[in-house]
Symmetry: C2
C-alpha cells in the first residue's frame, strides 16, 4: 500500500508582504501531476492546509480545486487533518459529504478515534487541538500540556487498535527534538508545546505536520514531510520534498522522497553591491527567485534596493552588513546628536561614518558654503 | 414534484447585539422535522445562508449540521445559492463533492447555466453577483445594472431551456415593487439594484431570496419565501413561513405555506412603565420574546430598562415616546445650556422638563441648600 505524505501547505501565506498563492498554485499543479504518476493509494496531508483561520478567497478556491483534482479526477483517497493555522470548524464544513468519495478530513478533534481503512492500512487522524479542548473532550482534568493531551488520545486509540495491522497516525504537533524554522507558529506561549516521540511507538508510521523541514526529526518511524514551499529565509537551505511511503502488511515500510521545482526558489545572497550587479555574477542564476540580500558595502549607497530590483525583481529583504567597528561608530554618532555641535562638525562626523572616506578640507569648505547659504535663506523668510 | 422554498437564513446574524445562532438552531431543528414530515423532492434555499462572508464558527457548524440532516439523513436533494451576504468563494468550497449526494450548491456565478434536474423539474441556479462580475463573465460591456445582468443571464438560459418543461429559477435579487425591511442590505449604492419582474416570465416559478417578507411581492409566479426568522423590528408584524410548491408537469403549481414557532418571537410593545410592569398585562404574554418597548411616560424614570428586564429579560431596544411639545422643550433646554445661567435656574428648567411637575418654592429652597453645600465642599478641596 502506497501513500504520499505531505503537510504544511499554508495556502494564502504572506511572506514579507507577498502572497504566495500563485506560487502555491504552480507547485500544486506539479504535485497533482506527481500524484497522477505515482498512483498512490492515498494522499496524506498532515495539517496547516491554510495559513490562517480565515484564508483569502483565492486560497480557498485553490484548495478546493486541487483537492478535487486529486480526490475525484484522479480517484485518489485523501486523508487530511487541521493544523494549528487552520480553523477547526471552518475547515470541517462538508467533511461528512467528502467521506463518500474517500476524502477523509478531520478538521476538529472529536471523541471518535476510529480509523479510516485504506487498502489494509488504518489511518488514525489527530487534528491539532489545544490541551484545554482535549481536557474537556476527554473529561480529564489532569491534561495540561500537549504531551498530556497526545498521551491521552493515543491511549484512547490503543484501546481498540489492532497492533498486528499497519497503523498510521496522522498528527500535527511539535515532537521533542524537532528542528524549528521561522515560519512555524509557536504552539504554546510558556510551556514547551512539545510531545515526546516515544508516545508514537505503537504506530507503524507517524505522518506529522508542523515543522517545515523534512529533516526536522531524525526518527525511523516518525516523520515530518516538511512544508510545501520555503516560507521563511531560515528555510532557504532546506531541501523540500514529498515523502512516499510503501507500507507492507507487517507494518514495515520503505520511504523515498521526490522533489518538485518551485516557481521561484527562496534564497539568500550576499556581497558588495557592485558584485551583485555584475552580469558575470547574476547571469548564472535565477534572478527571479525570492531573495534576501545582504550587502557588504560599508559606505553610503544611493537607493540600493531599486538598483538591485532591476536585476532581482523579487528581493524580499535587504540587509546591510555592519562590522562591529561600524556599530561602535554608530553609537558614537547617536551620542553626538545629543550634544551641541555645529552643523559642520555634525556633518563631518556623519560623512566619515557613512562613507569611510576623509572629509577633506575642500569638502569641508564646500559644505560650509552650503550651510551658510541655507542660513541666509532661512533668515530671509 | 414537491419542493420546499426557503431563503435568507442569515446564520450567525447579530440583532441589536444578540447572536441569533441558538434561535436559528431551535428553528432549523423544527424545519428539519417539517422536511421529514413533508418528504419533499427538494429543499430550495435562495441565498443568504449566512449573514456575512466570514460567519462565526458556530454558524458554520450549524449550517453543516442542518444541511447534512436534510440531505443525507433525510435523503432530500438540496438546491442552494449564495446571496449578497454570503462569500461566493467560501460558500462554494466543496460544491463539487456535494453534487454526488444531490446537494446542488452554487455559491458563485459561473458561465455554466445548465440546470439541475430533480424529478422532472429543471432548476436554474443564479447566485447573487455584482453587475461588474456578470459583465466580465459574459464579456458584455453593456451590462451595468442588476437588471442588465439578470436579463443577460436569463437570455443565456433561454438559449437551451425547454419551455415545455417545468423550469424553476432560483435567484437572489431585489425584484421591482418588492417591499423592503430594515435587515436587508441594500444591493446597490446609487442606482436602484432592482430587477424587473417581467424578466422571469419564461419560468414556471421563480424562487427568490433577499427580501425578508413572504408578502414582499404580489406575483403569481415569482415569490420571496421570506427569511427564516424576524431579523429586525420592522419585520415584527410579518408572518414568516415556509413555502411548499407542488409542481405539475405542465409547469402549473399549487402553493401552500407552513409556519413554525420560533424560540422567541420578535415583537413591539408600548405603554406606560407601570402598565407594562403590571402582572395583569404581562402574565398574558410570552415575556421572553425579543422586544422593542416604547414607553409613554413623559417624566423622569429611574433605570427603566433594568426594571423592565426583570419582567422582560430580552428587551433589545427601549424608546421613550416624546410628544412634540416635549421635543420643543428639549430643544429649549439644549439651548439653555449654552447660556450662562445659575445652577439653580438650570436645574429648575431641567426638573420641569423631566418631570412635568412644578419646581415649587420648597423644592427650590432644598436645591439651593444642596448647591450651597457642594460649593463649600469644593472650596475646601
Amino acid at each position: 500500500m502506497k501513500f504520499i505524505h505531505t503537510a504544511d501547505w499554508h495556502l494564502g501565506k504572506l511572506v514579507h508582504g507577498v502572497y504566495m498563492t500563485e506560487d502555491q498554485r504552480y507547485f500544486l499543479e506539479q504535485f497533482v501531476e506527481l500524484v497522477a504518476e505515482e498512483k498512490p493509494d492515498a494522499v496524506v496531508i498532515a495539517g496547516d492546509l491554510y495559513d490562517r483561520s480565515v484564508p483569502p478567497t483565492d486560497a480557498v478556491e485553490l484548495l478546493n480545486e486541487m483537492l478535487f483534482k486529486i480526490n475525484v479526477d484522479l480517484n485518489t483517497p485523501i486523508v487530511a487533518i487541521g493544523g494549528n493555522h487552520d480553523s477547526a470548524e471552518r475547515l470541517s464544513f462538508g467533511s461528512s459529504w467528502y467521506k463518500k468519495s474517500q476524502f477523509y478530513l478531520s478538521g476538529k478533534l472529536n471523541s471518535d478515534f476510529s480509523p479510516f481503512h485504506i487498502n489494509g492500512v488504518n489511518f488514525y487522524l489527530v487534528p491539532y487541538a489545544e490541551p484545554g479542548l482535549v481536557r474537556h473532550l476527554m473529561e480529564d482534568d489532569s491534561i495540561h500540556s500537549h504531551d498530556d493531551a497526545m498521551k491521552r488520545i493515543i491511549g484512547k486509540i490503543e484501546e481498540t487498535m489492532n497492533p498486528d495491522e499497519p497503523n498510521v497516525l496522522v498528527g500535527h504537533a511539535f515532537v521533542l527534538g524537532g528542528k524549528t524554522s521561522d515560519s512555524e507558529r509557536t504552539l504554546s506561549v510558556g510551556g514547551s508545546g512539545c510531545v515526546s516521540a516515544s508516545l508514537f511507538e505503537p504506530f507503524s508510521y507517524t505522518a506529522l505536520g508542523h515543522l517545515h523541514s523534512p529533516d526536522a526529526l531524525k526518527h525511523e518511524k516518525i516523520r515530518y514531510s516538511g512544508s510545501l514551499l520555503k516560507y521563511s529565509f531560515s528555510e532557504a537551505k532546506q531541501e523540500k520534498s514529498i515523502s512516499i511511503i510503501e507500507m507492507k502488511e507487517n507494518g514495515q515500510f520503505d520511504l523515498r522522497t521526490r522533489s518538485l521545482k518551485p516557481n521561484k526558489d527562496m534564497r539568500e545572497i550576499a556581497g558588495y553591491l557592485a558584485e551583485l550587479m555584475d552580469p558575470g555574477f547574476h547571469n548564472n542564476q535565477d534572478c527571479g527567485d525570492y531573495l534576501k540580500i545582504t550587502l557588504h558595502d560599508e559606505g553610503a549607497l544611493i537607493d540600493p534596493i531599486n538598483k538591485l530590483r532591476q536585476i532581482y525583481p523579487n528581493v524580499l529583504h535587504l540587509e546591510r552588513k555592519l562590522a562591529i567597528t561600524d556599530m561602535k561608530k554608530k553609537s558614537t554618532f547617536t551620542s553626538l546628536k545629543e550634544e551641541k555641535k555645529s552643523e559642520l562638525e555634525l556633518f563631518s562626523k556623519f560623512y566619515e561614518e557613512m562613507t569611510t572616506a576623509d572629509f577633506t578640507e575642500e569638502k569641508r569648505s564646500m559644505m560650509a558654503d552650503i550651510i551658510e547659504q541655507v542660513r541666509k535663506e532661512e533668515s530671509l523668510k
